[in-house]
C-alpha cells in the first residue's frame, strides 16, 4: 500500500500575532513553526496502515518554503520512507487551488492507493485542500475522518457532524482528511531521528509541479488584503456583592440589557 501524506509547516498555536508593516504579513521573527497538529494524525495513520499491511510506502509531500524541511524531517523521523518538497515560499500565501494542484502533480506521478491530509491547517484553518485535491484528481474524498477502517480496497470512515456521526463508505484510492481522535501520533524515536537524517528530501520547483509563476503572484484569485487585530475586549464587568446578589444582577443583565435569555 502506497500512501501519500501532505504536511503543512505552521506557526505554533501559542504564537503571538504581530502584523508587519505591509499590513498583511506576520512578523515571523520569534515564531516557532511546527507540523500542523492534524497532519500528525495523518502521518500516524499512514504508518499504522503500512505496518498492518506488512508492506508499502509512506511518502510525504509539502509545498512550502525551505524551512518546511524541518516538518518533513519530523515525518521521516516518525517513520515515513520518502519526502518531496515543492520549494517556494509563496505557497504559504497561495490560493487553495494552487496548493492542491501542486500536491496533485506529485499524486499523479506516484499513483498512491490513499492520500492522507490534515482536516485543516492550524492557524489559517481553510479546510480546502482535501476536497479540492479530490476534485483535481477525480477521486472521492472525506474530510474530518475520526475513525477509519479499510478492507479490500473499500473504506468506512466516521465523521462527526452536528449532533450525530455520519458513516461514510467508499472505495480507494481516496483523499481523506484526518481529525483529532483518529489515533495517538507517535513520537519520533532517537533511532528514527538518526535515520531521518540519512534520508534525502527530493526538492522540486513550483514549475516542476506544473505551477505557473503567475498563479503564485499576480494571477492569484484570492487576495489577503489586511490582517486586523481585533480591538482588545475591555475585560469583564466583574460583578460585586454577595453571590446571591451577583446572580440576580447577572440574570437581569442577560435578560434586559443583552436580551440573550
Amino acid at each position: 500500500m502506497k500512501i501519500l501524506v501532505g504536511l503543512k509547516h505552521v506557526p505554533d498555536t501559542e504564537t503571538k500575532v504581530k502584523v508587519a508593516d505591509d499590513g498583511v504579513s506576520l512578523v515571523e521573527a520569534g515564531i516557532k513553526f511546527v507540523m500542523s497538529p492534524y497532519d500528525e494524525y495523518a502521518v500516524e495513520e499512514a504508518l499504522k496502515l503500512k505496518e498492518a499491511a506488512g508492506e508499502g510506502e509512506v511518502l510525504l509531500v509539502c509545498a512550502g518554503p525551505e524551512s518546511a524541511t524541518a516538518t518533513l524531517r519530523q515525518g521521516l523521523a516518525m517513520g515515513a520512507d520518502r519526502a518531496v518538497l515543492i520549494q517556494d515560499p509563496r505557497f504559504d500565501r497561495a490560493d487553495g487551488l494552487v496548493r492542491a494542484s501542486a500536491l496533485a502533480s506529485v499524486a499523479t506521478q506516484e499513483s498512491p492507493d490513499l492520500v492522507l491530509l490534515g482536516k485543516q491547517g492550524v492557524g489559517t484553518d481553510e479546510s480546502q485542500t482535501v476536497p479540492m485535491l479530490g476534485e483535481l484528481l477525480d477521486l472521492p474524498h472525506v474530510s474530518a475522518v475520526g475513525t477509519l477502517e479499510i478492507v479490500d480496497g473499500r473504506f468506512t470512515a466516521h465523521r462527526e457532524i452536528e449532533g450525530a456521526v455520519e458513516v461514510m463508505e467508499g472505495s480507494l484510492p481516496a483523499i481523506l482528511g484526518c481529525e483529532k481522535g483518529l489515533n495517538e501520533p507517535r513520537y519520533a524515536s532517537l533511532k528514527g531521528i538518526m535515520q531521518a537524517k540519512k534520508k534525502t528530501i527530493d526538492v522540486r520547483s513550483a514549475a516542476d509541479a506544473g505551477i505557473e509563476d503567475g498563479a503564485l503572484g499576480e494571477g492569484k484569485m484570492v487576495v489577503w488584503e489586511k490582517l486586523d487585530l481585533p480591538a482588545p475586549r475591555s475585560g469583564a464587568r466583574i460583578l460585586e456583592g454577595e453571590i446571591d446578589d451577583q446572580v440576580v444582577e447577572l440574570v437581569r443583565c442577560l435578560r434586559e440589557e443583552e436580551k440573550v435569555i
Binding site: T13, T15, K16, V17, G96, L97, A100, G123, D125, E126, S127, Q128, V130, P131, M132, E135, P140, H141, V142, S143, A144, H158, R159, E160, I161, E162, G163, E166, V167, E169, G170, S171, K180, M221, V222, V223, W224, E225, K226, L227, D228, L229, P230, P232, R233, G235, A236, R237, I238, L239, I243, Q246, V247, L250, V251, C253, L254, R255, V260, I261
Partner: protein, 328 residues
C-alpha cells in the same frame, strides 16, 4: 459571469438546516447589491416543499434534484450538481453554510469551477463590480484576515453558522424548477450510509444559541450534572474544554476550541475554564461571554463580558435556580 447568487440549502432528514437560511439572508443582501436574483439549490426527496419558506427569506428561485439517493450526503454528486447549477444560472457568487457538510463540499465545488474560495467567513460584503470581500478569523481568533476575490467568478464562500442573521423579506414562494443530478448514481465512489445519533438526542454546540461549558474546575465527570442543570432551563448545549475531554469526562463532540468546534452562540457561559488561547479560538466570537471562575486572574475574564469570581459549586446551582424562576 453574472450577478446572480446561488445558495446551497442544506437539509437533514427532510428539514432545512438553519445555517441555510442564514446563508440565504446573506445572499439576498449580496444579490441586491449585484443587481441579480437569488437561486437556491436543495437536494433529496421533498426538497421542493421548501419553496415557501425559502421564498419568505429572499429566494427568487428554487432548483431541486429530488432523487431519493440524494437524501443522505453524497459528496461528489452534491458538489457536481452545485457546480453545474452555478454555470446554468450564471452565478457570480456561490454561498454555502460552513457546516460539516458545507465545509466538506464547497471546496470541491470551487475546484470544479476552477475558482477562488473563502472559508468559514464571519462577514461578507459584495460590491457592485462583483468583488467579494470577507472577514475570516485566523490564528486562533488572534487576528482577522480581510480577504477578497476581485476577479475570479463565480466567487465561492462558506459562511460560519450562527453569525449571519436570518431575515424575512416577506417574499412569496420561490419559483421552482428541477435539475438532474450532475453525476449518475453508479459513478459515485463515496457516500453517507447512515447517521449514528447518541441515545439521548443532545443539542450540538455547533448549532446552539446558548452554550454552558465546563472545564477542569468542575473536578470530575459526575459534576457535569451541575452544568446540565444550568443548560436545561436555558435551552443550552453543553460544551467542554479539552482538558475535560482528554480526561474522559465527556465526549469529544462537546469540545470547544482549536481542536474542537468553533462556535458563535449569543451567550457562552464558561464554568471553571481558565481561558487558554486554544479554547478562546473556539468561542471568542460569541456575542456575550460570561465567566465563572474562582481565580480573579484567570485569562477568561479578559475576554468575558461578565464575570463572577467565585466557587462554581456555589454559583452554578444558584444561577440555574434564578433562570428557572425567570422561566416560571
Amino acid at each position: 459571469m453574472g450577478a446572480n447568487v446561488l445558495v446551497f440549502a442544506e437539509r437533514r432528514e427532510g428539514s432545512l438546516k438553519r445555517p441555510a437560511l442564514e446563508a440565504l439572508s446573506a445572499a439576498r443582501s449580496a444579490a441586491d447589491i449585484l443587481g441579480g436574483s437569488v437561486v437556491v439549490l436543495a437536494l433529496g426527496s421533498g426538497a421542493a416543499a421548501h419553496a415557501e419558506e425559502l421564498g419568505k427569506h429572499g429566494a427568487d428561485r428554487l432548483l431541486t434534484a429530488e432523487a431519493p439517493w440524494l437524501d443522505m450526503y453524497v459528496p461528489e454528486a452534491y458538489a457536481a450538481t452545485l457546480a453545474a447549477a452555478a454555470g446554468d444560472v450564471d452565478a457570480g457568487l456561490v454561498l454555502v453554510p460552513a457546516t460539516s457538510m458545507g465545509k466538506d463540499m464547497a471546496p470541491r465545488v470551487a475546484a470544479a469551477l476552477k475558482t477562488g474560495m473563502l472559508s468559514d467567513v464571519t462577514d461578507l460584503e459584495a460590491s457592485a463590480d462583483g468583488t467579494l470581500r470577507c472577514t475570516r478569523p485566523v490564528f486562533s481568533g488572534k487576528a482577522n484576515a480581510i480577504v477578497a476575490i476581485p476577479a475570479a467568478r463565480p466567487a465561492v464562500a462558506s459562511l460560519r453558522p450562527n453569525v449571519f442573521p436570518v431575515k424575512e423579506t416577506g417574499g412569496g414562494a420561490a419559483e421552482t424548477g428541477s435539475v438532474e443530478p450532475a453525476l449518475a448514481e453508479d459513478k459515485v465512489r463515496v457516500r453517507a450510509v447512515r447517521l449514528e445519533k447518541p441515545a439521548e438526542a443532545e443539542l450540538d454546540v455547533a448549532e446552539a444559541s446558548v452554550i454552558v461549558s465546563g472545564g477542569r474546575g468542575i473536578k470530575g465527570a459526575e459534576n457535569f450534572k451541575l452544568i446540565r442543570e444550568l443548560a436545561e432551563p436555558l435551552g443550552a448545549a453543553v460544551g467542554a474544554s479539552r482538558a475535560v475531554v482528554d480526561a474522559g469526562w465527556i465526549a469529544h463532540s462537546h469540545q470547544v476550541g482549536q481542536t474542537g468546534k468553533v462556535v458563535s452562540p449569543n451567550l457562552y457561559i464558561a464554568c471553571g475554564i481558565s481561558g487558554a488561547i486554544q479554547h478562546l479560538a473556539g468561542m471568542s466570537s460569541s456575542k456575550v461571554i460570561v465567566a465563572i471562575n474562582k481565580d480573579p486572574e484567570a485569562p477568561i475574564f479578559k475576554i468575558a463580558d461578565y464575570g463572577i469570581v467565585g466557587d462554581l459549586f456555589e454559583v452554578v446551582p444558584k444561577l440555574a435556580e434564578a433562570v428557572r424562576n425567570l422561566n416560571s
